[in-house]
């Protein structure tokens, strides 16, 4: 299994210039109350750590869209799809007017403000969330 390129994750944050909406999602506010009761001991720290946790995302190109050299990324749960999409566009050095479409399960396009953590919970498999990206509409 390929080691996650942590240095690239750091540059991810700076490259993105931190979209405000994902900022809001990251700030831990009432997270402890929101966490469902689990058999583990929910300490203050583990509550915060859960919120800061990252999920693994595997990016797959569709059609003749350029393939990213690094496909596997460790992304914070609160990052939005829009934030990730902008990152991919910059990574691929796309023009400002070029659109990027993101797909989950090769079937639907999540809303730009959707958090990747939620997508991972509902549509992740084998410990990762697979996202397909395309410069044109692939699955309508």
């Amino acid at each position: 299994m390929q080691r996650f390129p942590h240095n690239e994750c750091v540059s991810e944050s700076s490259a993105l210039g931190l979209l405000r909406m994902s900022d809001k999602a990251e700030s831990p506010t009432e997270t402890q109350k929101d966490e469902p009761s689990t058999p583990q001991q929910p300490t203050e720290d583990s509550g915060m750590a859960d919120d800061k946790k990252k999920i693994d995302v595997l990016l797959k190109a569709v059609g003749d869209t350029p393939i990213m050299k690094t496909k596997k990324w460790s992304v914070e749960k609160g990052r939005t799809v829009q934030s990730l999409s902008q990152f991919i566009s910059r990574f691929l050095k796309m023009e400002a007017n070029e659109q990027l479409f993101i797909y989950v399960n090769q079937s639907f396009s999540p809303s730009p403000d959707q958090e990747v953590g939620v997508l991972f919970q509902c549509f992740g498999s084998d410990g990762k969330l697979v996202l397909h990206y395309c410069k044109s509409q692939a699955w309508g």
Binding site: K24, D113, V118
Partner: protein
């Protein structure tokens, strides 16, 4: 069952009386009168407010008009959330008509998505339906439909045609008899007191040993704060389409009858009013 079909109609035809007032700092050539409209709970703001735009444009210069957006008591209203959800979440216990402020400047980029045309609304709506079916049927039902069937779902919503919509949507509400229900229930729980947009997780309507899960079971699992213990007074209301369904209601039934046209159960958890 005749009663259950009535529920589908009641949900579809739910309306919220709304008063649209132009933001005081907008530049007008004459006084702008408020505009009254009955908003469909199951639709989207940008889909049903052409009349509002036309009304206020009558007193404004073209150069002072950018993309229209709305706020309620200072909170920008997300057009991509169903209208009924926005009302239940932000204005449940306020007096009717719902008072919404209209803006044509200073679009709040960090709070709202842009909506340049109806095709954006259609794309968002269809994506939600596809996501819901991914959860319910591993996308099998929606993928078996033709493109014209998908179009019929959208046209039904856009033109407020209940029969046209449900002729297709009923297929998305079917499930193999032996399963007893959908694979997972498409739901989102919205909280007013949290920075998280909503809670969405995998949750089965029927447990592996055949037990029928209720609304209460769902909340206990994903947001137990919403359910008050016996020894304390009720702190939260759990609202769907403006009503508080009994917590004993089977989740499968709720999914089939109280989902929005996008096939999601949009559930608001709001504090009980303190007056």
């Amino acid at each position: 069952m005749a009663d259950d079909k009535d529920v589908l109609r009641d949900v579809w035809f739910g309306r919220i009386p709304t008063c649209f007032t132009l933001y005081q700092d907008e530049i007008t050539e004459r006084e702008a009168e408020p505009f009254y409209l009955l908003l469909p709970r199951v639709s989207f703001l940008t889909l049903v407010t052409d009349k509002v735009k036309k009304h206020f444009l009558k007193v404004m210069k073209a150069e002072d008009v950018e993309e229209m957006w709305f706020d309620f008591e200072g909170t920008p209203l997300k057009w991509h959330y169903p209208i009924g959800l926005l009302f239940d979440l932000h204005a449940s216990n306020t007096a009717l008509p719902w008072s919404i402020t209209v803006h044509f400047k200073n679009f709040p980029e960090r709070d709202l998505l842009h909506c340049p045309s109806n095709s954006v609304i259609e794309a968002h709506f269809m994506s939600s339906i596809k996501e819901a079916d991914a959860l319910k049927h591993k996308s099998q039902v929606i993928n078996d439909m033709q493109k014209k069937d998908h179009k019929q779902l959208w046209m039904g919503l856009q033109n407020d045609k209940f029969d046209q919509f449900w002729a297709m949507n009923r297929k998305l509400m079917e499930y193999p008899t032996e399963e007893g229900g959908f694979r997972y229930i498409p739901f989102r729980i919205y909280l007013t007191m949290s920075d998280r947009p909503f809670i969405q997780k995998l949750f089965r309507p029927i447990s592996s040993d055949g037990y029928t899960h209720t609304l209460g079971d769902l909340l206990k699992e994903v947001y137990p704060v919403a359910i008050s213990r016996d020894d304390e007074s009720k702190r939260y209301q759990v609202v769907i389409h403006g009503i508080e369904p009994l917590l004993e209601t089977p989740l499968q039934w709720l999914s089939e009858h109280l989902s929005h046209p996008d096939n999601f159960l949009h559930i608001s958890v709001i504090p009980v009013p303190s007056d």
